[in-house]
Amino acid sequence: MIQFENFGAAFGERKVVQGLTCHFPKNSITAIIGASGKGKTTLLRVLCRMNDCIENFRIEGNIFIDGEDIYQPDTDVYALRRKVGMIFQNPCVFPKSIFDNVIFGVKDIARISKKEYPDRAEKVLREVFLWDEVKDRLREKATTLSQGQQQRLALARTLAVEPEILLMDEPTSSLDPKSTSAIEELTQSLKSRHTILWITHQHEQAQSVADRVLEFTDEAVNPLRPVAPIMKTERPSPLKNVLRKVQTFSE
């Protein structure tokens, strides 16, 4: 599904990822752990080419999704981003109604007719277990929701455009325990249809949610050591062989 080949990324002279080669199979949940500033977020962002607009951001190597190099000059970036959904650390809802938020992406991409909007909204809101909480207040401003609800709303908004890959950048770090477990449970249920990459700081969370773990390490002088303990997976640790280097530089 997702294949990094000798991938590296740098902001100007500062390299954040170097020589990464690894594979993420379809319908798997991979947890990515490691200290901050080690290129975890960059790894997710390059998958939907979010860093295109950052001046002096450079990459090397290749990234393939479904066998296609996504950094070709003729890549349809918008189609790519529809295929790859991303959830951020802090939930971001638009100051519009809940309903408008859910169909925000659908509206523009318009793959379904307007009549189907409510159905689509209901479907994805049910998927994120938010339907019962908001079904009576779809016209209210989304900003009135709690943080946990907002994060689930953001997830619903992303699911509504039916991405194949879900990138979650510490989606629970700003949430209370209850919302956290709701999101964790939810992610499990999404596994059947999506390939999920999940950045987290908590090892327990990684172990309970993910099939596999990719760890970005920072070992004193030599920051280059790859560690790839694999949990709850049928296949024995392909990552250990694949992850030759996860190289990070801290300043």
Partner: protein, 298 residues
Amino acid sequence: MKLSYKKNFSNCFSGQAHLEPLAWIFALMNLIFVTGAMGLGVFLLVQSLPIMKAEGLDFWLGENWWVGETYGALSMIVGSLMVTALAVTLALPIALSAALYTSEYLSPSLRRGVKGVMELLAGVPGIIYGLLGISFLAVTVKESFNLLYGNTLFTAGCLLAIMILPTVLTLAEDALHAVPIEYREVAEGLGLSKLQTALRVVVPQASSGIVGAILLGIGKAMGETIAVLMVVGSLDRIPGWNLFVSGQTIPSKLGREAAEALGSGLHWSALMGLGLTLFFMVSILTYSGTRFTEWSRR
């Protein structure tokens, strides 16, 4: 380790952006803006070429401006500089100390009140200041300095000082107020008094904003037309060191003769030359201001 990084795709036409009509419309709008801005300068330059050819350096060094005979802009340049210098000398110390007091000592509600008044006054039209100038200031100047007439360079300078005061004050205050509160806490924690903190910590931190405010004030004073035109006396003569005589500034000269000179060859060109001179003076001021801001940020 190879370092042959791919160029990323961050250029303006990333992906399919160049296929969007909106991109082209916006590019067109941008082109209009650039053409307009550059056009202004180029137009002034082209239009003033005949006078440069005819008068050469004497255009800037000549004292006599006799339409149809000779065009020397020195008296207007000197007048502009004197009036601006006077306005700045009067307004700056007052505006800056008031800004410091407003930012560092006033309570939030009082500060908002002062800022409100200043922002309203910064928007009062030049024509209104002109009206105030001819009705009150010119008469006051005439009487308090025992002059024969009130339309002097000094009157114009005072009027400009009052005009730029609110602008400089409110912008300088913004710059001071934007300095994070932590700086002040640290400095006061080290035992500095409030005034020392303000002068040694806050003011240097805000220096680029303050310089910006000052330059904007100078630019505004230099370019003001209508209010100056109404009180300056409009006499094309180098005033020497005496501020209490009538004189002429570049904008007031332009305002008076523009309609008449239109299309009349060398006279129009001479006015354009004046315009170009003014444009250069203000542009250099603005440019050095932005450069200073960049430099001080580093």
